[in-house]
Symmetry: C2
Subunit: 328 residues, 2 copies
DNA sequence: TTTACTTATGAAAACGATTTCACATCATTT
DNA sequence: AAATGATGTGAAATCGTTTTCATAAGTAAA
């Protein structure tokens, strides 16, 4: 393991000069510069990044918090973020919270102990009250999810609009009895429900509590929802779901019970994941332009890191779009 | 930003004592220990990890190289690895190579510059000849993919067996005309093809070159394969594919051309991804126990980091299993 | 010819932790 | 009573960089 000292003595120069060459500082003669570069090449020298970071307090790493990396929405999001980060020479640290409040909190130590330059929260388990004290150690921004109480930049979609247009679509198709599935009580879910309720109330419909479900995430969860609906005396004719996975589960289970989709039950998904176009019937869904969200969020983060004075709270809204297929 | 110095002076003790408390060293009186802990708590002190790492040359980070995190196989693999790593207090750095040789090579600088303690390669773009020089900077192991020339530990599946049992299954169903789709020329693909060829040759069949395809990865690639097959004068009755995504693409496109699966064309997938059980017909596939692979690989890595002397090259083979559904 | 500025270089002081070494103190054994 | 060993503590060296400071030489302006 060679150090800057080895390079310096090999080149017959001081550590300071070697450091200047490494960091492209001015005031180094071409001649010595070449000598240093040759010495570095011959030794196969690479600066020890722990030492560099101890000095300049930069890590070139961004922590990205997601609740479930196996959710295609998140893996696509992380993929986009990593791509943007790599262009600027940054690495992404994957922080998979597994919907665990404690675990999420642990990841904030990364910021405090200077292991990352910033944190992008694409999922949120703790309230802003808990997160806020960490802001003094580095930039924290929200992406997709957020806590309304927070005064930091958030890159997100108009989920109220998403809930509204999805529901409106079902209403336009003539449905009056609409069930509703959401994930946890996040900002995204909450806003979508506001949109849902807005649409149904406008249509003069009172939502049926027995058809409102929470904490529904996976394909299997979706299957169970259908079984629950099926067991009811009065069943809905349409379901609004929070993800294509859930929609897929409901559809498959419905078909296994010989229900026709969309004739007997219309189902709308969310996210426009690959499976949405593969199922039979193809799932009507709402596209979130995941890649754009990821890139935009990473852009904002890198900008803040590069120039902290630009860290003024912004509310960046990206477009959302209904994709009509055959499940409704 | 408080340092160990601040804690020391607040507690009226030396830095050395504070450090001993942090690292749970013996020979610190209970009284001073409490004093230090109280001082740390009051200041909200967290050790600067760059400084710690500069001293003890450990980072508690593992780089995981994958070619496409959006591939469910990889996101599940990374998920499992992260879970195991977190238990031991390690973080995972996501290295998405995007099938780019240069990009993969860049990630090895992480090891050289001491930003990670080890690298798990779940995809491989460069030959072992190129990778080998990095082994002196830290442990490198293969997971799933590997270069046969390498003398390092690899955790993998018997892909020859996978190719063999999948093909044998098609043969047992009476198919004689079998097409074959693979990804790139990786070890996994190569071995699977060996298994495929073994099975067909045993059955006395000569593989048809026009039905052998390479670099097929995505759902869209699968669709295109069907269109190509469809355009041939002599078409196969079955297709062996390298992933469920490809199988899904072929099946959907076939159905759009009014072919029945499996009657007109049998399709077998690989990986047992969630979509495999969702499609109609459900896809016959080969389960790779992705979670087990990830945990096992991370286990091996952590063991090596903890005790480098155990770093003897091993070839760890995990089981593989045919899951028969309706697409064959 | 002086003055002022730019260019070029190295010695030494940071950065914030851990560890070595030296030195106490106290208890136990000879 | 002396010798030995276990326990407890702090000063200072160390890890590998970057940056400050001092200094010197060369060049342009006055």
């Amino acid at each position: 393991m060679y150090t800057i000292k080895d390079v310096a003595s090999k080149a017959g120069l001081s550590q300071a000069t070697v450091s200047r060459v490494i960091n492209n500082h001015p005031y180094v003669s071409e001649e010595k510069k070449r000598a240093v570069q040759q010495a570095m090449a011959e030794l196969g020298y690479v600066p020890n990044s722990s030492a560099q970071r101890l000095r300049n307090l930069k890590t070139k790493k961004i922590a990205v918090l997601v609740s479930r990396i196996v959710n295609p929405f998140f893996s696509q999001l992380v993929d986009a973020m990593e791509k943007r980060a790599a262009i600027s020479g940054f690495q992404v640290i994957l922080c998979n919270t597994r919907i665990d409040r404690e675990k999420e909190l642990e990841y904030f130590q990364l910021l405090k102990s200077k292991q990352v330059d910033g944190i992008i929260m694409a999922s949120v388990e703790n309230t802003w009250e808990v997160i806020e004290p960490f802001t003094k150690y580095g930039p924290i921004i929200y992406c997709n999810e957020y806590d309304p109480a927070a005064r930091v930049t958030r890159v997100r979609l108009d989920q109220i609009e998403g809930g509204y247009i999805g529901t409106k679509h079902l209403l336009d198709k003539g449905h009056q009895k609409i069930a509703y599935c959401q994930g946890n009580d996040s900002s995204v879910s909450t806003n979508r429900r506001i949109g849902f309720l807005k649409a149904v109330t406008e249509a003069g419909i009172t939502p049926e509590p027995a058809w409102m479900f929470k904490n529904i995430f996976t394909i299997e969860d979706g299957r169970e929802i259908f079984r629950k609906l099926h067991a009811l005396s009065c069943t809905p004719t349409a379901v609004f779901t929070g993800s294509d996975e859930v929609a897929a589960g409901i559809i498959k289970e419905a078909q296994q019970h010989s229900w026709r989709v969309p004739e007997d039950l219309a189902v709308i998904g969310f996210d426009d994941q690959p499976i949405a176009a593969l199922l039979d019937p193809q799932i009507t869904t709402i596209n979130q332009f995941t890649t754009d969200i990821g890139i935009t969020a990473m852009n904002v983060m890198l900008e803040i890191i590069h120039n902290p004075s630009v860290n003024k709270p912004q509310d960046i809204l990206l477009p959302i779009r209904l994709i009509e297929r055959q499940s409704t």
